[in-house]
């Protein structure tokens, strides 16, 4: 009996990623026939992705995967969350940094350590759609690390965007620069008794990110997870669809909050 979920892609640009991930999950997924409505739809995170996600659900998809979601209308994200909740549909986001598999694997421990730091500094190199999306990438990583960030300043140059804020009493500083070399996001969390260092590649590959903690015992590297953010998101869909409880859209609502924060600046 074939119990695989059918999956399709809205945009041709996602096909390479689609094929790579599909090949790594041949039991759980099968490509949908061209003229059918897939159970799971991949949607590019550019432009009005929330509206396109809602369209897919209304056409009958049981789940949607938003790939690299960027800045869009916060109201549309909330509408997508409302719709998913009403329909019992699942919405998963593939975020290249915030969805990093190694980060998510150690999120609970990292969050506990971050209670004891006084500052978190992010630096990011890579392409970005616009300054706001780069700022959003940084805020989303902080969200994944359990930080509820209040951003009070955002500034730009021709090729960079800086953010400043707080998370409780923790100071937050971020700088993203458009570039094509040494691409990724680096996070350094500074406390008197410990320093956490994270290097997130964000390249869609299964290359594990590097997470280290230094304290009085020395510097220790945490085990890496050799799984792309895409594959991890597809697996979360499988796990969610295997249970009959209502979908949790709280993450989507928090995404809308983060978009609103950046949009205000």
């Amino acid at each position: 009996m074939n119990t695989a979920l059918t999956i399709g892609s809205q945009e041709p640009g996602l096909l390479t990623r689609f094929g790579r991930t599909l090949a790594s999950l041949p039991v759980s997924y099968t490509a949908a026939a061209p003229d059918s409505v897939p159970q799971v739809m991949l949607i590019s995170g550019e432009g009005e992705w929330a509206r396109r996600g809602a369209d897919a659900i209304e056409r009958g998809c049981a789940a949607v995967i938003i790939v690299d979601p960027g800045m869009t209308s916060a109201e549309q994200i909330v509408e997508l969350a409302d719709l998913a909740e009403r329909n019992g549909s699942i919405v998963e986001c593939v975020e290249r940094y915030a969805g990093d598999s190694t980060l998510l694997q150690h999120r609970r421990d990292l969050t506990q350590h971050l209670v004891a730091v006084s500052a978190i500094i992010l630096t990011q190199i890579g392409d970005f759609q616009n300054p706001a999306s780069a700022a959003l990438d940084m805020v989303r990583t902080l969200r994944a690390l359990g930080q509820t960030v209040a951003i009070d300043k955002l500034w730009t140059t021709a090729h960079s965007v800086g953010i400043r804020g707080t998370s409780g009493t923790t100071l937050i500083e971020g700088l993203a620069t458009a570039g094509t070399v040494a691409v990724g996001q680096r996070i350094q969390a500074l406390g008197f008794g410990r320093t956490l260092s994270m290097t997130l590649h964000g390249d869609g590959s299964a290359r594990p990110s590097d997470i280290r903690i230094a304290n009085m015992k020395g510097e220790r590297k945490w085990p890496g997870v050799y799984q792309s953010a895409d594959r991890a998101a597809w697996r979360r869909i499988v796990a969610s669809m295997a249970v009959s409880t209502s979908p949790d859209v709280s993450g989507l609502r928090l995404f809308a909050d983060d978009v609103t924060k950046i949009g205000r600046l």
Binding site: T123, W155, G179, V181
Partner: protein, 352 residues
């Protein structure tokens, strides 16, 4: 003077910097430079430190300046005395001056030094060891037009307390007490004092290097400046089209992280420095180009402390090719003071 005789060095100040940095460095080049005199207002300290190297000791600036065996003066006193002592040493006819950073605390003092250097012809260098680090020098020679392409530059200095590294360099005597209490209520004057201390004491190490990537450094805008407890800073801003992030702090565990990074569209420079005080070779500089891949410079067997003393020795003998022009030192200082002043203003602006 005989070309074969090592130059005599007189030290103004006998604190940890002299004990941990300069005396161990000079011990590696006895054919070039030898300590001959140590001056400190603490007579016991100057005697103890001088005694280690067979030098004379004094509590008098005038005595050391009048000593004909002192060819070169190293100004390692508290920073508020630097400018006056540098000028006095030049006017006393010394052959070269090394001044610890910062070499002045105002543009007016810097001008006095420049004038004295022009009047007397005495070369001066500032002890910004990273400017003299062999890895920095090597990557500068190799990077072509990289500085003109830089879009952002970041300095991150995250270090354990100094005593850890001082103790690995030498046996320190007369160490001053360190006290990093954060004040309960910030006032504009406290903020100014803190940022002056943080920028002129810690960020100053890398600001001359950062200025290399900022053609519009005079247009610096500091957009965020905050203190880190118990001792540190986070400064963000821009100069023209280049973004800047400066972070410096000290912590209670053992791992040092001292990095400088400059990012262009197709190339990234990353430098990892050793902590201050230790004598463990140079930094490692890596420049990664999208097309040609990575090139690494270092680690070399000596550090910037040794390079700066060798450059000073050469300059004292009349060859100034390896030392910065005084105008560059003045521009470096102006940039440091500008960062401190604008960080202070930004932080004061954040007061409720």
């Amino acid at each position: 003077m005989s070309a074969g005789r090592p130059l005599g060095v007189g030290f103004l100040g006998a604190g940890p910097v002299v004990q941990t940095i300069h005396l161990p460095t000079l011990a590696r080049m006895p054919d070039l430079l030898v300590p001959v005199s140590v001056m400190d207002v603490n007579a016991d300290l100057s005697e103890a430190v001088a005694g280690r190297v067979g030098a004379s000791h004094t509590t008098s600036l005038e005595t050391i300046l009048a000593d004909p065996s002192v060819d070169v003066v190293a100004v390692c006193s508290p920073q508020q005395f630097h400018a006056a002592q540098v000028v006095a040493a030049m006017r006393a006819g010394k052959r070269a001056i090394l001044c610890e950073k910062p070499f002045a605390t105002s543009a007016d003092e810097a001008s006095q030094i420049a004038k004295a250097s022009a009047d007397t012809g005495v070369p001066v260098i500032v002890g910004t060891m990273h400017v003299f680090d062999p890895a920095w020098i090597a990557v500068r020679r190799a990077w072509g037009d990289f500085p003109a392409k830089v879009r952002s530059v970041r300095s991150s200095i995250v270090l354990p307390m100094n005593d850890r590294f001082e103790d690995w360099s030498t046996e320190v005597v007369g160490r001053p007490a360190m006290d990093f209490e954060m004040p309960g209520e910030m006032t504009p004057e406290l903020i100014r004092q803190m940022f002056d201390g943080l920028i002129l004491g810690l960020a100053v190490h890398d600001l001359p290097l950062i200025r290399t990537f900022l053609p519009d450094y005079a247009e610096l805008e500091v957009l965020s400046a905050r203190q880190l407890a118990p001792f540190g800073y986070m400064v963000g801003g821009r100069a023209g089209d280049c973004a800047i992030q400066l972070v410096g702090t000290m912590h209670g565990h053992g791992e040092p992280y001292w990095e400088l990074e400059a990012v262009a569209e197709d190339e990234v420079l990353s430098i990892r420095f050793t902590p201050s005080f230790v004598h463990a070779g140079s930094a490692v500089a890596t420049i990664i180009n999208r097309d040609s891949g990575a090139r690494q410079f270092g680690p070399y067997d000596h550090n910037g402390y040794e390079s700066e003393w060798r450059a000073l020795h050469t300059a004292a003998l009349g060859d100034r090719r390896d030392i910065p022009d005084p105008s560059a030192l003045i521009a470096d200082l102006a940039f440091v003071l500008d960062v401190a002043a604008k960080a202070t203003a930004s932080a004061i602006g954040d007061l409720p």
